[in-house]
């Protein structure tokens, strides 16, 4: 399947969801790598599509893409399923695996810093290039091989994160600590993500409008690897700084854009990311009724 066809398929699926599901306007933060402490509203399903265009020295550039199905099981538990793929220009387009992620809110009330526990299982090939997180000694050179070679490597990983986040005077600050264990005999790997963002206006307009300042949230995120159990630190790791912006439309769509810049020689020079998402309210109840739940 070509990258263009797979992109169109996902966009068509999003369009179908938007036609048949009742939606709500999300107030999404603009982060693509970092996580805040806000979970999906219970019973809602958010369908998201993201792309990453990455430059690659000494090999061909790539376009990686993934689809997320994010569901609010309860107000304190969000579960999410990912499907990943990528196209390396001048090479091939490949499906690169799936991920299953769960986030759990720890505290009952809102505090200055709010912890969320994150656990994810990844079943991906070495050709996975979505760069949803950077950890260990991940670097640009890891992606320079042909897809046919990279696909021979299979990763079964458990990834744990401690998500810390707080919102004060309109500013949201996040800090994510990452620890990943490959289920083979590889050592624990570590990483981080930091972020800050703020709506361009804090008060809502009395009129519904697409281009009002409160619909735009701008910020930046910084993320990278911290080595592994035997070689912890910044040596031989890659790091990125990315300005990010989200546009929450009254028509229930959210668009995100991120321009990431590699901060050292191990990093890709440039990562351009964009995403589109749509939230469908009452999805759980709809499915529940199909299987005999109360109307």
């Amino acid at each position: 399947m070509s990258a263009r066809r797979s992109t169109l398929t996902v966009l068509f699926a999003l369009l179908l969801c938007s036609c048949f599901g009742r939606s709500t306007r999300a107030q999404e933060n603009p982060y693509i790598v970092a996580y805040d402490h806000y979970l999906e509203e219970p019973g809602n399903l958010e369908v998201e599509y993201f792309s990453t265009f990455g430059t690659q020295r000494s090999a061909n550039d790539f376009h990686a893409f993934w689809t997320e199905f994010e569901y609010g099981a309860t107000a304190w538990w969000t579960t999410e399923f990912y499907l990943d793929g990528q196209t390396t220009f001048g090479d091939s387009t490949v499906f690169t695996g799936f991920r299953w992620e769960n986030r759990f809110r720890v505290l009952k009330r809102e505090h200055f810093i709010n912890p969320v526990l994150y656990i994810e299982y990844e079943n991906t090939s070495g050709a996975d290039k979505i760069l949803k997180e950077v950890e260990g000694h991940d670097g640009e050179a890891d992606y320079a091989e042909k897809n046919s070679i990279l696909r021979q490597d299979h990763d079964h990983e458990l990834e744990f994160k401690l998500l810390l986040s707080g919102t004060h005077k309109g500013w949201n600050f996040v800090e994510n600590t990452i620890a990943t264990k490959n289920l083979s005999n590889d050592p624990w790997e570590f990483g981080y993500a930091l972020g800050a963002s703020r709506p361009l206006a804090l008060k809502a307009s009395a009129k519904r409008c697409s281009f009002c300042r409160q619909n735009f949230i701008a910020g930046a995120e910084l993320y990278g690897g911290l080595g592994d159990r035997y070689n912890f630190g910044l040596h031989d790791t890659s790091h990125y700084l990315a300005p990010v912006v989200a546009w929450n439309l009254p028509s229930d769509w959210t668009f995100r854009l991120s321009a990431g810049f590699g901060l050292n020689d191990n990093s890709h020079r440039f990562l351009l990311r964009w995403g589109v998402s749509r939230e469908i309210t009452g999805f759980g109840s709809m499915v529940g009724r199909i299987f005999g739940g109360r109307k």
Binding site: N29, A75, W100, E110, L202, K207, Q214
Partner: protein
Amino acid sequence: MKKQVAFFIGVAVSFAGSLVLAGQDKARSYKYHWDAQVYAELGKAPAKARARRNPLQTDPEAVAAGRNLFEQHCTECHGDSAEGGRKGPSLLVPQIHDAEPGTLFWLLTNGVVWRGMPVWSKLPEPQRWQLVTYLKSLGVTEQAPAAKPGAAPTAPPSPHR
């Protein structure tokens, strides 16, 4: 390869299961059991939070802006006119109408996470105050069940819920 397929199916079944359980849970619990407990949360607001004044109380646009925010974020659970829905209680009750603005702001900020209401601190403070202004502008059209934490409701649910 068989292990991967089995795991994939396991994940899919778990995901679908959580959808079904959550859907049935919402339909059952919110319709009959938790209204009183959600109202009871209002009584847990600290004195400092209750004493906060609404800085947008006299803002001429606050009610209209709050109405917009309510339509965007709240109607799914509380109904189009705040009359209550399948997933959330009515807001047209004395408990809400008589509550101090600071109490409503505190509840919006903290949610009632164990009873399904998310935290709304993702909305900037002025937007939460706009929502409070809108909620305070609503009248009272029904009586809510008395708060008896942990007890089953004594009154049948309203027909329109």
